[in-house]
Symmetry: C2
Subunit: 316 residues, 2 copies
């Protein structure tokens, strides 16, 4: 039985879309899994009645406070002790749930993740990663997308391992190709950090290194299943993608693939390298996005992601 | 009279499209300007006859060698002494031409630029910049796009000046807004380098600093006329743009604005911070792109770009 902790109060349209997304997820999670909702019980129950959904479909942990976008994330996490995020992480810490996800304050979620879970032994720094749809119908995992904006080569090298393990255990790719984002395909290309990282990656046996990838090839899916870069570059890539999506919409372009690039609607950010399953959805998540976030959380739990990471980093 | 030096042998479709582009430019350059073509005189003259264009329309400097994409740029620049690029830079060095442009080997062009021209006094490092069309019908100058992949804050700060002077003198923008590419709008966002750069830029009187810009806003034209970033990030942005253009084409999307993002066809890379006007076109330049490259070169000469840069950096 997997206990999937969900912040019912997180996101711009919470708790409405969160409850709706949780109901949508019911048909797709394992029969014995339980979704645990943290939030305003009265509002949650009202929404459940509206959807003709019995109250006992979910475990509900009542909380009275909400960390909003106006709150200082670090301060709010410790001062709003009865907020859905803080209570959720307390449950996670004492293993009362197996994973926790929220579309609420990214800062508070990161604070919670760091306070409640330790970094996997031998991991230098955790990363946050995003799954980007590719034009060939697949997807590619990009990391880091903003947690570490100044990365040393050994950190980037480890991101290759983190990404590879996630792609293998959760995304179901057998021998994920891990590429290093760079400004040229040749190994001598790049800045000081990527050049040194290339050397480390080229001699590894911990993952299947496929060399450098240029940004023009991110979306083809042809070269990589996992793309490693520092958080500054990864965040820039995500935001440029968002910019293109917006411009396409502004220009009245309707295209199935371009629509998938609206990553704010599509998935969550996965925290990799800590001893817990933590997912952060986008503030503007729809019920569909919440459903995906719940399924992704369950998949990470089911795959034993944390154990797999602990194993590979054990004798690092 | 401006003497615009053009490498007739540079580019995938040279000399054909170069000669064609030069003929196209004739109607738009100043009547007293002269286009000086460097290359295989027989082939150039044959093409001119084909276009019913008298030979004396252009100054032709005959050369017998060509630096190809297979050549090592630095070695070829010094060993192929009678190549169109090497001879062109010799002319530029002794002021026999006022600017030099080529759609040939970027590496050889950069080598030539560095060998034949000194860096403007007090400029720490030159940059290469690209003009990107924005969705509002304008454009934005992005620099650096690949020359300096490891930039210190003082270098990025100077790029703000280089870009501002170019936008003002050549692109005709009165008080160009210079923004720093970053992963958040707030001044405390960023990596070590961008945070320190923000401090330098915020207190400058050398240009109109408009704060941080996120990659999602590059293409709107709303926030900046000039965007400063290091060469790794700038090159990644350009290549991601290229990737989107390709995917749009692959998906059968036809849109006026998206088509303009095919920057390989649209303009050239301008070398900023040296005591000469040097433009590098893309290898796959069409005649239209060559025409634009010629006009951009003339504009930079006419605007006194080098003098303007020398002035602002004089008492740095």
């Amino acid at each position: 039985m997997y206990r999937i902790g969900i912040d019912a109060m997180g996101g711009d349209y919470a708790p409405d879309v969160v409850v709706e997304g949780a109901i949508m997820a019911l048909g797709e999670i394992e029969p014995e899994s339980r979704i645990v909702l943290f939030g305003d019980k009265d509002r949650i129950c009202k929404l459940l009645r509206m959807h003709n959904c019995p109250e006992d479909t979910f475990d509900i942990v009542p909380t009275t406070q909400v960390i909003t976008m106006d709150d200082h994330p670090v301060k709010a996490f410790s001062s709003k002790t009865d907020s859905s995020i803080t209570v959720g992480f307390n449950y996670l810490k004492r293993n009362a749930i197996d994973g926790f996800a929220s579309a609420g304050s990214t800062g508070a979620m990161m604070t919670g993740a760091m306070y409640s879970s330790e970094v996997v032994r031998n991991v230098i720094r955790p990363a946050i990663s995003v799954k980007i749809p590719t034009a060939d119908g697949g997807n590619v995992l990009l990391l880091d997308v903003g947690l570490n904006v100044d990365c040393k080569p050994d950190v980037l090298y480890q991101y290759g391992i983190l990404g590879s393990v996630y792609a293998q255990s959760v995304l179901g790719k057998e021998h994920p190709r891990v590429a290093l984002l760079n400004i040229g395909e040749e190994k001598e290309k790049g800045n000081l950090v990527t050049k040194a990282t290339y050397e480390l990656m080229a001699s590894t046996e911990k993952f299947n290194f496929s060399g450098n990838i240029e940004a023009r090839d991110i979306f083809t899916g042809q070269i990589a299943d996992v793309i490693v870069c520092d958080g500054f570059v990864g965040n820039t890539i995500l935001k440029q993608t968002e910019g293109f999506y917006r411009i396409a919409k502004m220009r009245g372009i309707n295209d199935d693939y371009i629509d998938q690039l609206n990553y704010e609607q599509e998935g969550g950010t996965v925290v990799l390298g800590i001893n817990a399953i933590v997912l952060i959805g986008h503030g503007c998540s729809t019920a569909h996005a919440i459903k995906n976030m719940i399924l992704q959380t369950e998949k990470s739990i089911k795959a034993g992601l944390v154990n797999n990471l602990q194993d590979i980093f054990r004798d690092f």
